[in-house]
């Protein structure tokens, strides 16, 4: 297994929003599994990280939560993206791309001056 990474502050919200966008309404467990799989198990989310993040998104109005029956007939709390959440995701994704490009440019091997 690859070296474990810490979840960077601020990126977890983005991952959660993206997960909900791709998979639709999902419970906490599903979100955690999806993020862990997507990261090829580089990230593990314990409850103490995941649930405060979900609560924060809910407080900010980017997701809404409701109790539902799961596919295998359990009761679970499902989180769904709101319209504000979609906008926020687009905004954060754009910011993230720009930041990533910038950092990449900084870290690129130096080219000799002609």
């Amino acid at each position: 297994m690859a070296e474990k990474l810490d979840v960077k502050q601020g990126t977890l919200a983005l991952m959660i929003l993206r997960t909900l966008e791709v998979l639709g309404p999902l419970h906490g467990y599903g979100v955690a599994r999806r993020i862990e799989e997507t990261s090829k198990n580089c990230l593990t989310l314990n409850y103490g990280t995941l649930y405060p993040a979900l609560l924060k998104l809910e407080q900010e109005g980017f997701v809404i939560a409701e109790w539902r029956q799961s596919e295998n007939n359990r009761r679970a709390k499902y989180y769904a993206l709101t319209a504000a959440g979609r906008r926020q995701l687009a905004r954060e994704a754009r910011d993230w791309h720009r930041t990533a490009d910038l950092i990449a440019a900084f870290l690129a091997p130096r080219r000799e001056a002609p």
Binding site: P52, Q59, E60, S70
Partner: protein
């Protein structure tokens, strides 16, 4: 937007915590179940599946805690818990709580009350627009009564033309007018002002309009602006007052407006009028007389100009006019002009007294805080076991510190609330004190700033107390628990801190006591001052039959006034018990402020020496006997000293010493002199000295006696005028009968200052008495707190050393020896405190020198007395714990181990 939304959600979460907790538990449980199910699906056995799921969760409790922190307002929830805990802990030690709260309440109360006065009188910005740009010009010279001469109109004019850094100069002339009210006539203090006055001062009306430049000059109707104080006092704040006609000095004057509340200087004013109301103020004497100084100058600094600039310009102008008009500025009297910020001038009389009281209150606060700190430290040591256990159960050091802080905050806040209640009463008392010293006393308020100050003091005390106590260091818990940490033992460092605090308490108490002692002696000395009059059974009353305008512009009124004075005198003399009735002006122990230069025949002051100035007084033949003023040489006036007979005078001892040192002044001739006489009805003829009278303390009990020249009442105009009545018993009871006589003969005349000499004297002493009483009560409070402090620390030391003492005794030390040991421990602290205290008191006494009278700042009696007293109280306080130490039974102590 999202932050607001999140914040609202959190606040909502704060209130719906419990329901959300259940929801969260279900959610986490469902997560765990799903993960367990998944693990089983992957082939684990159910137990292992569940264990793995739990492992991955990172702990359900921790997760719930993390979510809870996010959901509500953990800071408040923790604080609420801390405070609940603090209240519970304090309820369990009621004695500690009571002592601490009372101590803090007294300290905070005293500070709040005095700070509110300091703020109202000294610190608060003036109500005037840009009040810090106003400057007061003070004209002074050497000699009694020379401290504030005021200016003449030509002088004002010179400054107006020559000092561009003064954007505007307002003129204010103190004057009294007879106001004819519904219930008789009264003299009211007013200010006659120029039309630019309000513009320069930056004051606005609350009703109507203010005077303007168009109200200047002789040919305009007289108008009156009521000050806020006068409006309330005379008209009860009647809002329909504007436009009303009132009678002032027999003239009809229109009220045009009411001024916003504002302080006046140098005296109070009930109303401000244009100059035209007084013939005198529009006469050529006033307008052209360079030495006719009746005008106060308050100026507004030009934009960008500094006080320094104004000083330079004013000095230059003044030097120029002094050389241009040599006759108006006697070189020996050192005439000078000072430029002082108006706010400073308003506070100048109150400043020293108020800072003294503020300092004393601050000292009381220091002592209270030190005492509370000691109590807290001791309690902290006793609680160490509890704190160690709490720490072991998972409370971090920060959390423990917060608990302590919560406790101390609760104590300080309760103390502050009680303190404010004490302050409400104190402010009333202090306001009456401040009224005697400051025109701004009515600005004293317990307002937001004062409460802010109180709050800041309380919180600071709480913070200091919380960080003074040393907490067990993290990591040291385990070893302490192993050591079975229920043995009470303070570290050496803590002991040193406690002892240091006791030393501070003693030292500060000594400083306060010394101050109290000096002020008390000042008051006693002042009360002992011989006024120069008989103190017992003498009543004085002022009855100004004529207004200054009547005297100046209607000389015929004089004869009828004198006739009425004589009739009143005769009727008063017929009252039962009356021994003598004198007529004179002004009344003894009151200063008229009417002072002129005096020349003696054949004697000129040496070059460079100030021209002597004497106060102008009149007296009838019985005046001296009635007042009990001794005639040291010569004779009193007689009934033959009439208008038309030879002019005679009686001079007082001070004037005699000045002009005729070691010689017989009787028969010598003396005269008023100076340019200013041209503007008065007073003659500069030679007058023959027929007597020398004893000095009287007319300028106040603590003032140097001033030169005085008495003229026969019959030979001068009846300026002022009043009666001195001496009876054989209970003279105060005669006041009513005497007043009735005046009322019958002159119904529309003000009657003022109906006071016995004893009362006048008491009025002069009473502000000092209040001063001394306040500082003394602070001093006594400090000593009590300090005594409790030293006794407490020693008692604690004894209980901490019970073991040691037990061992000592079992090894042969007798109880006397143990007692001496403890006494020595306290004695060292006491001695150090006394030495520091006396040193501090030496310094403090020099600072308050200006408030002392008749006692040296380093008065040995006071200092020795205070030191002995403090030492005695300190030793008494040490005795109790020492006795307890001596009663320790070694057997019991050893067994307890």
């Amino acid at each position: 937007m999202r932050h607001i939304r999140a914040a609202l959600a959190r606040i909502a979460g704060f209130f719906t915590g419990r329901r959300a907790d259940d929801d969260l538990r279900d959610e986490l449980q469902s997560h765990l179940d799903m993960e367990t199910a998944e693990n089983i699906r992957r082939g684990m056995d159910p137990d292992e599946a569940r264990r793995q799921a739990l492992l991955a969760s990172g702990g359900l409790t921790q997760a719930a805690e993390a979510v809870r922190d996010r959901r509500g307002l953990p800071w408040i929830e923790n604080a609420a818990a801390d405070i609940r805990y603090a209240l519970r802990a304090l309820r369990h030690s009621p004695a500690f709580t009571t002592i601490v709260v009372i101590t803090l309440a007294l300290g905070i109360g005293a500070n709040t009350a005095i700070f509110s006065v300091v703020r109202g009188v000294l610190l608060k910005p003036l109500p005037h627009r840009d009040g810090d740009r106003l400057v007061y010009l003070r004209h002074s010279m050497d000699g009694p009564g020379g401290a504030n001469l005021a200016f003449s109109v030509p002088e004002v004019r010179d400054f107006r033309n020559g000092a561009p850094s003064l954007a505007g100069i307002a003129e204010f002339s103190q004057w009294t007018l007879r106001y004819q009210g519904d219930d008789g006539a009264v003299r009211i203090d007013v200010g006659l002002v120029t039309g630019n006055y309000f513009e320069v001062m930056g004051l606005a009306p609350v009703l109507g309009r203010l005077t303007e430049p168009r109200d200047d000059g002789p040919g305009v109707p007289p108008v009156m602006v009521l000050t806020h104080e006068g409006w309330m006092k005379r008209f009860g704040g009647d809002s329909s007052i504007v436009g009303r006609q009132v009678r002032l000095d027999g003239k009809s004057v229109t009220v045009i407006g009411v001024l916003q509340p504002a302080p006046f200087f140098p005296g109070r004013a009930e109303a401000l009028l244009n100059m035209v109301v007084s013939e005198h103020h529009t006469s050529s004497f006033m307008v052209e007389g360079r030495t006719h100084r009746m005008t106060e100058m308050i100026a507004r600094l030009a934009p960008g100009a500094s006080v320094e600039q104004a000083r330079t310009e004013v000095a230059a102008v003044y030097a120029r006019i002094q050389s241009a008009f040599r006759e108006a500025y006697d070189p020996g009297s050192r005439f000078r002009v000072a430029v002082i910020p108006f706010k400073t001038v308003l506070g100048e009389r109150a400043r020293l007294t108020l800072w003294l009281l503020m300092g004393a209150a601050a000292f009381v606060m220091i002592i209270s805080a030190a005492n509370v700190a000691n109590l807290t430290l001791m309690r902290g040591v006793r609680r160490q076991h509890e704190l160690v256990v709490r720490a072991a159960l998972g409370a971090g050091v920060a959390r423990l510190r917060r608990l302590l802080l919560a406790e101390n905050l609760v104590l300080a806040i309760i103390g502050a609330i009680l303190g404010v209640i004490i302050a409400v009463g104190g402010v009333r008392l202090l306001t009456s004190l401040a009224e005697r010293y400051s025109p701004r006393a009515n600005e004293i308020r317990l307002d937001g700033v004062v409460f802010g100050f109180t709050f800041a003091v309380s919180v600071t005390v709480a913070l200091l107390l919380s960080f003074l106590a040393s907490l067990p260091r993290e990591g040291s818990f385990a070893s302490r628990i192993l050591a079975g940490a229920h043995r009470i033992s303070g570290s050496l460092r803590k002991h040193r801190l406690q002892r240091g605090l006791v030393v501070v308490q003693i030292a500060v108490s000594v400083v306060l006591l010394a101050g109290a002692g000096l002020l008390t002696r000042t008051m006693i000395r002042l009360a002992d001052v011989d006024t120069g009059l008989r103190t017992e059974e003498v009543l004085t009353m002022q009855v100004p039959l004529l207004t200054p305008a009547e005297i100046l512009y209607n000389p015929a009124s004089d004869a009828s006034a004198k006739e009425r004075y004589d009739r009143m005198r005769d009727e008063m003399a017929a009252l039962p018990g009356v021994v003598d009735v004198g007529i004179g002006s002004p009344m003894p122990l009151q200063s008229s402020g009417v002072r002129f230069e005096v020349k003696a025949e054949g004697r000129a002051p040496a070059a460079g020496e100030a021209m002597p100035r004497a106060e102008f007084r009149t007296a009838n033949p019985d005046f001296f006997r009635a007042a009990g003023i001794p005639i040291l040489q010569g004779r009193p006036f007689s009934t033959t000293d009439q208008r038309g007979s030879g002019r005679v005078v009686i001079i007082n001892q001070t004037l005699a010493d000045r002009y005729y040192p070691g010689e017989d002044p009787l028969g010598q001739r003396i005269a008023w002199t100076g340019d200013i006489l041209r503007f008065t009805p007073i003659s500069d003829d030679w007058r023959t000295i027929v007597g020398v009278a004893g000095n009287t303390q007319d300028g106040g009990l603590d003032a140097e006696p001033r030169p005085v020249m008495f003229m026969p009442f019959a030979q001068e105009l009846a300026i002022g005028g009043g009666f001195v009545i001496r009876a054989d018993s209970n003279v105060a009871a005669l006041a009513t009968a005497a007043t009735r006589i005046v009322r019958r003969i002159a119904p529309a005349v003000p009657i003022e200052n109906v006071l016995t000499v004893a009362q006048i004297k008491d009025q002069s002493v009473s502000p000092r008495r209040l001063n001394a009483a306040l500082v003394s009560s602070f001093g006594i409070l400090a000593v009590i707190i300090a005594a409790v402090g030293i006794a407490g620390v020693l008692a604690f030391s004894v209980s901490a050393r019970t073991n040691e003492i037990g061992i000592r005794m079992s090894l042969g030390a007798d109880s006397g020896r143990v007692q001496r040991m403890i006494l020595r421990e306290g004695g060292v602290l006491l001695a150090i405190g006394l030495v520091l205290g006396v040193a501090g008191a030496f310094f403090a006494a020099r600072v308050i020198r200006g408030l002392l009278f008749g006692v040296e700042p380093h008065d040995p009696t006071t200092f020795i007395g205070v030191t002995v007293m403090m030492a005695a109280i300190g030793i008494a306080a040490c005795w109790i714990p020492a006795l307890r130490a001596a009663r320790i039974d070694p057997a019991i102590t050893m067994r307890a181990q």
